[in-house]
Assembly symmetry: C2
């Protein structure tokens, strides 16, 4: 009897071990990445810089990884999500501003004439920004943004915008953090537009989100000290702005940087100029069936100069169609 129990127990242990190995194979790092070159390069880099006692070892406090957001972590087509927010907010506020029906750029937004909005260029956009993003305290604005994300949906995927995020990139963020990295967003988008939801979506807390910003003013609001949002640009976190902001906010040069457009070129160049190991990666949108396909000719997320540079210098370029077996968090 005893021997039978032993044999039985051994067999159960064997089965358990097999199933653990199976589960491991199913849930190893980066399961939504195909076993193509980018996944191999990422894992090889992480294994290299975490190997203690080797010349490539990087102490964990230097493992800073910076990620662009629009088009790198979530969908940016057919327009940046923040533009969709502006449009909805103009429509929401319109009853209080009857003059908007006849005044540009508001009229164009209310008429859903996006071509006219685009034609008004930066000045029109700044007017829309001022009307929809300012004149409230920072905490009031956080509430407005959170409410919008709770109800608005991406029209093509019919999901809340902050669920239209790329599963392979969320896996990558998590894989890097498990390996001692501190992960940051460094985005041209408005910092206060992102901070309310990035922790839940990406595991990135507000203090690790760097973005474009407007000026604020410290003042008494309703009898309490508060910060009022002003209609004045503080910082544009794009192109050269990205390395400048990374240095200002983080104070260290990243060892890994991830982007998808020419706006990320300088962040990748600065990372590439680091002494020691470093990783530069671009997401190339090549999958019109599952998401979008665009690069050199696109108005949104134009990928041109930095694609040439990446190819010339051997940086990793993810071909979304080839390299990702799932795109979104909601893909099974």
């Amino acid at each position: 009897m005893r021997k039978n129990v032993l044999v039985h127990t051994t067999f159960v242990c064997f089965l358990l071990a097999c199933s653990l190995i199976y589960v491991h194979a199913q849930t190893g790092p980066l399961p939504s990445w195909n076993d193509t070159a980018p996944k191999k390069a990422i894992i090889s880099f992480v294994e290299k810089i975490t190997s203690e006692g080797t010349p490539d070892f990087v102490p964990s406090d230097e493992r800073i990884a910076t990620f662009d957001n629009d088009g790198t972590l979530w969908v940016e087509q057919p327009m940046y999500v923040q533009i969709a927010f502006i449009i909805d907010r103009v429509k929401q506020l319109a009853p209080k501003h009857p003059d908007w029906k006849t005044t540009q750029p508001f009229k164009a937004v209310l008429d859903d004439d996006m071509r006219a909005v685009a034609s008004m260029g930066e000045r029109g956009l700044m007017e829309l920004m001022a009307a929809t993003h300012t004149g409230v305290t920072v905490e009031q604005f956080q509430g407005i943004v959170a409410n919008w994300f709770a109800t608005a949906k991406d029209p093509r995927f019919n999901r809340p915008y902050n669920e239209c995020i790329y599963r392979p990139m969320v896996e990558l963020l998590s894989y890097l953090r498990v390996n001692g990295f501190k992960t940051y967003i460094v985005s041209g988008g408005g910092v206060e537009f992102m901070r309310s939801w990035t922790e839940k979506a990406y595991g990135i807390p507000p203090e690790q989100v760097v973005g474009s910003s407007i000026k604020t003013k410290f003042e008494m609001v309703d009898g309490k000290f508060d910060l009022m949002r002003l209609p004045e640009i503080n910082f544009i976190d794009d192109k050269e702005g990205k390395p400048i902001a990374i240095n200002q906010f983080i104070g260290r040069r990243p060892i890994a940087a991830f982007g998808n457009s020419d706006g990320d070129q300088q962040m990748l160049e600065w990372t590439a100029a680091r002494d020691g190991p470093r990783l530069m990666l671009l997401v190339h949108h090549t999958d019109a069936a599952r998401e979008y396909a665009y690069d050199r000719q696109s108005n949104v997320g134009k990928l041109d100069k930095v694609l040439d540079e990446a190819n010339a210098k051997g940086w990793i370029v993810v071909d979304m169609k080839r390299d990702w077996n799932r795109i979104f968090m909601f893909d099974q």
Copy 2:
């Protein structure tokens, strides 16, 4: 024999328990703080906000604590440490600039005529800043600062400047972190002047240091992409600038803020205007024998308006002489 062993073991355990209790009494939280009101208020606050299931509980991701540096964490008398750095650097660079011998404000520095330097006001200081803090890359400047701290000493205490830090405050930083707080420096000092040593001194990594900054430019330096420091102010992190910077860098209102001068008033006011529990604390320098005694009349670290506000509103005011049984890290 067995019984003897048991008795002996019990006795050893008893001795061990006694010694643990003794060690605990010696090394409980904040050992360099006397058992006066400030220590009790701090511990009571931390116990309150960490008590799960109570209305005062604050989730750990909201436990943001911000600390001024000059005069709050380290000595700021008789002049800010960064001024001592400027003076040493002018002297170091002088052989390359023979005209400085006859040109102000450099002449005054080379002549050790601090009265003349002070009389030149902000413009003179800006010229000295430009000459000593710019024209190098951010990483070169970090090296210059690190070298200076490795050799320069506070003349009164005859220790490296970054060892003249307050032991009670280092204990407080550590106590807060053990209780789930994220601790930040929010200082009027230059951010790049602090980041190279704050982790070792205070356990605060570079990315949790917020300070004043100059502009930088992304450019090719010696064939590599780098950030060059420009002679142009980017942001002054003082007074109203402190809440503005906290919101910009951290994106959350602190639940605890620590300062020592009128430059910290708005940071404390903004913290005090938070809903829910919050702690505001001022360090009052009252100990001329062990450190310095100064407040309303001081040119450096003037403590006047915010002292009245703290007294009126019941914020914690540390009386250094009464409340701290040791001042420095090097005090036994």
